[in-house]
Symmetry: C2
Subunit: 308 residues, 2 copies
């Protein structure tokens, strides 16, 4: 067993951080580490937290950390920073608050940012979750801003997803548009002290009731995360849903299938890159540029595949 994997399994935080960096950078050592830690995974509860900017996601995460620590749970947070050129600062800014927990050895907080490679961020998140699971964290909270395809892909690896909203007009309809409903297991209407909070909740519930549901309609809870109000109810709702293990099992299996695909996709990426660096690869690239051979034919040559 490699040094990193052994130390990670023994609870060494530096090794854990190093392993996650290797996953993030698609390091060639990453599959070896994954292989070595995998039999120690499968114990953690993985919760996704998403919502629009300003809804109070990080405050809610902060409160969940406190409550879980009070229940003697080891908690890890992965904050996925989509590194938007226009809004990228928001998530990392909120990290500062969570650093209250930085000195707690049973809390681990890590941001993951955009990598150039296609799908790189969701791959890295999946493997980081496995690393934290193997390192013995009981709860892993994955926080995203939920603003794009990458973030929705990332939320798919959570066992349960919490969508945090604030009582403001229009959002509830927008939200239904893009597959978020399918992944939401719980809605938290935060900033419940606002005058229109109760009305917003009822409207949201009405919309949810109209839509086809697989299983029970996701509950809608009111909260004021900044004052800790309603947070025990959120935690208890998540813990009780956890009992419905069929959906969790399906999600786990989808995640595992994806992990297998990722290993193969990384290998494919490397082999295609290597093929283009050979003299014949360079020649094929030149021919494609001249339009005398097409990408499908080049793919066939690279893979030894014969097609029409």
């Amino acid at each position: 067993m490699s040094g990193i994997a052994a130390r990670l399994l023994a609870g060494d935080r530096a090794a854990l951080a190093r392993a996650i960096s290797k996953f993030e950078n698609r390091d060639p050592e990453a599959p070896g580490i994954l292989k070595e830690i995998f039999s120690n995974t499968g114990r953690a509860k993985v919760w996704g937290i998403t919502g629009p900017p300003g809804a109070g996601k990080s405050t809610l995460v902060d409160q969940l950390i406190r409550l879980l620590r009070a229940r003697s749970q080891k908690v890890a947070v992965i904050a996925v920073d989509p590194s938007s050129p226009f809004t990228g600062g928001a998530i990392l800014g909120d990290r500062i608050r969570m650093q209250d927990h930085a000195s707690d050895p049973l809390v681990f907080i890590r941001s993951l940012g955009t990598r150039g490679q296609q799908g790189g961020l969701s791959q890295a998140t999946l493997e980081a979750v496995l690393a934290l699971d193997a390192a013995g964290f009981d709860h892993i909270l994955v926080e995203t801003a939920g603003v794009g395809q990458t973030e929705l892909e990332i939320l798919e690896l959570a066992h349960q997803v919490v969508v945090v909203l604030v009582p403001e007009g229009g959002d509830s309809i927008q939200m239904m548009k893009a597959g978020l409903l399918e992944i939401a297991d719980l809605f938290v209407v935060n900033k419940a002290d606002r005058p229109d909070a109760a009305l917003f909740c009822r409207n949201l519930e009405s919309v949810l009731d109209l839509l086809p549901q697989e299983g029970a309609r996701p509950p809608v809870l009111l909260a004021q995360a900044v004052r800790g109000v309603g947070m025990t109810e959120v935690l208890d709702a998540l813990e009780s849903q956890q009992q419905e293990s069929l959906r969790v099992r399906e999600k786990t299996q989808r995640t595992l299938r994806k992990a297998v695909f990722q290993v193969l996709s990384d290998r494919l990426m490397r082999s295609v890159q290597a093929a283009f660096e050979t003299p014949s690869g360079q020649e094929l690239l030149e021919q494609m540029t001249q339009r005398t051979i097409d990408p499908v034919a080049v793919a066939d040559l690279f893979s030894g595949h014969s097609s029409s």
Copy 2:
């Protein structure tokens, strides 16, 4: 040659739309169409347009369409809708304005939305660009909201990228964070009638001057897209940059390498899905769920690869 490819090359808009849908849906016929149209690609100029919500991207695109049509160019627009659950409506809303051009047979406008499959949206955009190129469009404008990894990946396939901004404090620094500078070839400061527009421009130029540049520093132009002010200058700047063909050539080759990878990645995805549907694949999935085999070992079994 398939019917769709032949009709697309003959200028049939319905066939073009059908081909793009097949690329968008990762249809099994897609590689065959790509193969058949590829030798007719490589002529179009591909420009990416990005910027924060409200900067006036769609108005700018609308003006570019008018100017290009006045120069007898055939113009296509691909508006990539990240389908954000929170902001997803904005781009499609702006499409309504562009429908002024809907009756012009030499203008083609198409929105592409999020697909579930990893990387699906950037794959579809790449292939849609090739289809429009083969169909004889001289200019292809790819508009994104630039808010995430997927959108930045998509902009990489443009020969040149225009970043549209409005004079507002803070944004210029945010913008530098996430690789947008590396892909920006031209900045347009829109809504130039605002009082702080000139100052904003100077600040932006100062920041750009401080940063390391490969080649010339991207120009910063003032515009009022809604009144058509400064738009000829934007178009002329893009056309003159086009002369610097080395960077365009590099981008083209990167896109072609990516097209090859996509063909192979689609095949890999299908073969992994098929493998998991076999009885032995189901058994391996169950063993992974029980943690008695790891994803790397399953990948090895699927690919006939032997590793430690």
